[in-house]
Symmetry: D3
Subunit: 328 residues, 6 copies
């Protein structure tokens, strides 16, 4: 008998009629068109439970640009994924129909127009009963996703993995950038009171007021360094206590990882999470009511050997597992 890391009861079951990825025994994993995990495109199935949606956009970046190439890099790395997730004992694309809905045609020269396109495309999917895992793009895009989710589900609990608060105010006169979108979202009332958490925060800030103002916006923080004392388990407990049964939007900035694990990002911050910690934290949210999720800020021109995009692809896979388990 095997000794898997999690109890062996089967949480989910392959469902009839679900169209899965290209068979790796017919077409090697490095071959064939690069949809996420080589899953079907939207046009190939009648109805989808979950859509992977790319948002190649980086005009909200304040330091290293390049996240516009994130979606294709994550898709490329996702070729290595396999159907069964032993940590969560589920088969995320057998028990629900997952499709790759391609990329939003986000205007690279206008943040408002890009946000409108993102909001429109995601709202359309949500209205059709399809939940969405978005692949960024810089973190600005999450505002479009949050607005669409708000239309469908009302205010949500946010769990936000990031090295940075992203609640700074305007920058060079731009009200929405990858460093300020969360302040805008809070101001727009997109979040439930007392239900949202930043995880993995670290590094220098502009001022002590950054923390004060962030708290005033309603967020609480699990600082990265706290993991050394409370552990993954303690962090999960704090997050779950705040989110409860509320609809949950999960936003993962890949720079929550240490630059050793995710060099390919725009605003690296040393002292971060390992991929092992991040996966365990995300797995710890199993069973929560996930209504939307994203992985953002993969900038492949700074990556090497695809390690950042592989981390992002694996996180996206975990998000599919969470969605499978939150729907069962």
């Amino acid at each position: 008998m095997p000794d898997p890391p999690r109890p062996p009861k089967r949480a989910t079951k392959p469902r009839d009629g679900v169209v899965g990825p290209v068979d790796a025994r017919q077409i090697p994993r490095y071959a064939g068109l690069g949809t996420f995990a080589r899953l079907p495109q939207s046009g190939e199935v009648k109805k989808a439970d979950i859509a992977i949606l790319g948002v190649p956009f980086d005009a909200g970046t304040t330091y290293r640009p390049g996240a516009r190439f994130g979606p294709q890099a994550i898709r490329q790395a996702s070729r290595l994924l396999r159907p069964y997730d032993p940590a969560l004992d589920t088969e995320p694309w057998s028990t629900q129909q997952v499709v790759d809905s391609g990329d939003v045609g986000a205007n690279p020269f206008s943040i408002p127009e890009a946000l409108a396109a993102i909001e429109r495309d995601i709202a359309r999917l949500l209205a059709a009963g399809t939940r969405v895992v978005t692949l960024g793009g810089d973190h600005t895009i999450t505002l479009g996703a949050l607005r669409a989710v708000h239309h469908q589900f009302g205010p949500v609990s946010l769990v936000h993995f990031d090295a940075h608060l992203d609640t700074w105010d305007t920058y060079f006169g731009a009200s929405v950038t990858h460093g300020s979108f969360l302040r805008r979202a809070a101001e727009e009332g997109l979040f439930l009171d007392g239900a949202s958490t930043h995880v993995g925060i670290r590094g220098p800030l502009y001022s002590r007021q950054d923390l004060v103002q962030d708290a005033e916006l309603g967020f609480r923080i699990v600082h990265c360094v706290e993991l050394d004392t409370i552990g993954v388990r303690g962090a999960v407990e704090r997050i779950r206590a705040r989110t409860g049964n509320h609809p949950l939007y999960l936003s993962i900035d890949i720079d929550v990882l240490d630059p050793a694990h995710a060099p390919g990002t725009g605003t690296p911050e040393v002292g971060g999470l390992s991929t092992r910690e991040l996966l365990a934290l995300v797995e710890g949210l199993s069973g929560l009511n996930v209504v939307g999720a994203d992985v953002v800020e993969v900038a492949p021109s700074y990556d090497h050997a695809e390690i950042t995009s592989l981390a992002a692809a694996t996180v996206a896979y975990k998000l599919l597992s969470l969605l499978a388990l939150s729907r069962s």
Copy 2:
């Protein structure tokens, strides 16, 4: 009035009903699924004049492997291509229906089985009236393509751009590798007598007999260093004189380029062509009766900034132009 590099007469005309690439004004070129030049997949059109076909296979490699990732790298670089080729005054995907037929499921553990799959897939396309531009993969795959072409067209003239002759004999007991496939092809009678040419040959050989035996197999050589004396024009004349009106198979090993221009390849050889020379040589073959073509030996893990795959994508684009002009 503009002063284009070639006479302004319009050789080809956009054809009704042809489905072209995704519109770059709706979806930026870095976005959307990565078919070649973002052209339609085979299933999206009724009939194709030309198919782009990937062969992710590198089990015939003798030095640096990695060409199995060539097709996807070339497709990624092809996002930068635009519809109008001023050098040949044609629009290669408006005047003929071009599709991306995806990748052959080539067995990575058996050269004979891989060759059979390549031959079968290409033969099927040819039988349906679709000519094929193959993206390698290591050079071994060309034998499969040549066999399929032979079924449809009989013996052909070969124009072979390469740093190496590829007419060596068995290596470690394998009769077909990327260094010996042309000897096998010649032995199988796939070529017309006196009609085939190697272009760009250079570098050390195993023995003086290599040249003797290659000549006995019926090939003639335009050595790379001869370009310094006869020029692109002279080389083109020698090639055209041998090929004449015969059906032509055009095989381009990216290592015909200098390593400065194509570092991402398996058997680099210094002293090679510049991309400017290679494009001019290929353009010089305009009007010939091209019945098949390939670009091979792109090994992306040795590339940087995509310069090798961009060279290959641009060469593939030229092949589409040649096919447009050879059919008009």
Copy 3:
């Protein structure tokens, strides 16, 4: 007696009181603060003949971003430059006072605001009698520079080294991007009639009309491939014939170089110039009345071993030589 490549008569003379770079015999070239060629900052001298001005801006980029890091990369590579230019027999920073004026604070989220800042900063320098060599940034920034030059000098002749025409029209609703700024500049009347030339154009276009419209805007083209027939000398003659004694603005997009020579750029196009050709072309413009100049589109995250930024730094050095000789 030496045998230099150019006649030995001394065109320029070191001038009294000029402040030069840090002495490489006291502080090794890899040390010390990284102004261009380790020249003085603007505050360190009373009056400057020439200012090097960085414009770290890339929000007008349509494909690979990253040129915002161009100025600092070019400055870093400029550490290798030495005081005497034997090809033009001049000492570009001994015979005129050259300073590094730092970077324009260009708004990364608003092309119009960034252009206004560029125009304002350059206009101020020109008004003080200082000519400016601008380091990009993406090519959009040249519009700001051209506007400032127009204030001071009226319409100019443009010599534009580039793989691309940059006279396309709006893209995603943005009227000014790095692919359209020259159309805007022409529409604004910034150029003299019949005096401007594109050099190094190559690669696929969107349509045959691109060439027609470009010609209607008043440009003429030295296509890259023409260098194989008319040579550097012929190209120089055609450019000089059009520019004559008019005030000349010289804009050099580093992608005029082949990707082998300049991988670190946003829109690479194979089949380009070698650095040897580019330097010879620029040297061929010696004696013309240069009133402004720039080097743009260096995107260091795609560079390796600094070869692109070294090419750009050396081109910027040649621009200083041209300015020295055009003022003597």
Copy 4:
């Protein structure tokens, strides 16, 4: 008095007549021919206790190839190793004669022939009383080593560090690849019952049956994520409990490390071990009866700054220490 991490009693003693590496005080470590740790080649000593043997072979790879360049990369990185291992308080090449036996001439086009050559070369060394540390090469090669070890020692306990089980069945008709060799080895009866352990397993599987079948073949698993609860110490106890005093073959796939620590490998899997954990785990096996060992799957074209090959070289050094201590 120093405070070393392990008790100071000296476990091993330099032996007379042992030929060690080139003296780093005469020939700097970056100089001289690159045998492992600059140790003597086999021809230079009469008899060897331990041989380092390279197997440059990667035809069994299912994703990124390139491990054929692993042995030379590991040797290059091994230049940094020094004679005394403080963690295990031993001098692995002073107390036993270690040589570099070069590389097996493994046929790159035939997995069976390559396996036969590996088996033959190792068997010959074992028969002469020389134990072997093999440097891969992809993991397929371990089957050849296990067969040779079986001839000499009969069935063994296996401790297998890897992200993957490697007990999948045929792939593209090939019965032995780097993902299936352990199933073949188990079927051939090369392992003792109930004595073998996988360590570091993680990531998605093809199906839940993968775990069931693996257990049926007799393996037990220390999942990577379990290290967070049982620690290195707990893992070591579980491994030692299963291995006991049996002859032990130790096989270390470098992808057991996290991609941050080992980017240069063919099938990276995030969430892995750090090098500190891996070294501690290997050190924990001190005193066991090691009869053979390998380090495999280093693919240098995906490495940077040699960090993967340095990890592999240091692991190989630890294997020499284990062999020194298992023989004393």
Copy 5:
């Protein structure tokens, strides 16, 4: 209310008249001249409390050279730093005047002359009441800094973060190299008795005597592997117990980090610290009497995505925080 990782009492206060960095809201962080954190140069303020001083020197390197490019790489990465350090609740460049004093003109061909220049420049700053954070350069340079510190403060306690002891003896006849400078410093009496500690030591040594001799020179060791048992907290306690209230010199060789976190260094050693551990260890020294500090051995040509130089810049920032807190 926020929940920061450290108690919220404000340890330091912004001081009147202090000149800080360029305002990131006027000039984006990727723009402008690259002083450390874009702080003022020495000439721009009257008096400095702290000077950042580069020492671009690597002639004492025994393996991979390139640390001469360290200071500029660290400065480049320091653009990402922000004013408020929440972990230590201080604003390191608001409460004290920090300047960038540029680079020492260290002779690349003479270790003694380079050491003399370093000693002279630092002594001059110390005599003026300015404490110095030195950016290497290879570790040899620390001897120059220690000598200057000794002039001003007498013998000090050393806390030395490093993978290596650096107390080896002469190498190729050179008495001072990056592997032997600490032995020289101890022989010169630069350290207090019983007060100095190495932290992070690991990896193979030349002989068991290395540890004995190092202890005889008066050092004690916190081995890297001990962190797994005593934790950061235990390590901090051991260090603080030895240093007490003595004047402290803090020297951080970036190779104390694991190569995954710091690939860009000359003598990488696997099994090292994560950046999270290193930052926590340095933060743990808060309140000690720091009289000098350095970060050395960043070799950018082996770095990627600036992760090593970002780690070094962040460590230098922490040193500024320690200095702010040690002076209050």
Copy 6:
């Protein structure tokens, strides 16, 4: 009949008893110990006509260090070389016994000691009738080689391929560096009057006097830019006219190549030779009386895909061919 680039008469003949490289049909070229071209080590044959000798030394470098890793990188790239050189119609290691003599143990901390070791090791080989092809190492090492050659052959003609003159005077008090060694050699009388030539010179100089003083030392220059007018043929004629039948030392600094062709070097200079030009120039010296030769300044940490070291290996191969033909 083949049509080779050179007349088919056979200039040299395989000689009995010569020991060649490892057979690539038994041991693939990527396998086995990395002597140059996998030729025998010195100990394996009785007498050698030619020795390859590495000099891993870079303490004379003024900008980017790292050439100490040059010899091993060139050896690694030399695995791709084959026995027959069709351009010169010779088999350089069949007609003469070539061995790899390993590396000189050059002191990294003392230029004079390193030069003495180089001189001694080469002199010993020359005295035994073995000519030497030296692999650098920075260019400083050539002075050691020239001194040894002078002992054996008296003053020689020098043909020096380089971007730089290398006749600058002292730098930081060091009389011999890679930028001044040729001045020292000239002062020591190591060259024949009027017989030496620099080839490929380009780029900015410190002053116009650099050219004057170089000429006074007796050198003449073929400037890189002159190749555009006189061609390879004209350059060869000028070199041969000066060298005549004198004993010739051939020194090739890899930076004579353009950075596109040789990024991996310490002092790159744009506008350089292509590898095709360099090989043709070297081939043009066939038949001259070569008494010594070197290839220097390969700095692998700046290389990519081994293109610089492959260029150097191929140049070294050409030097073996020249030696074969100069002895026949």
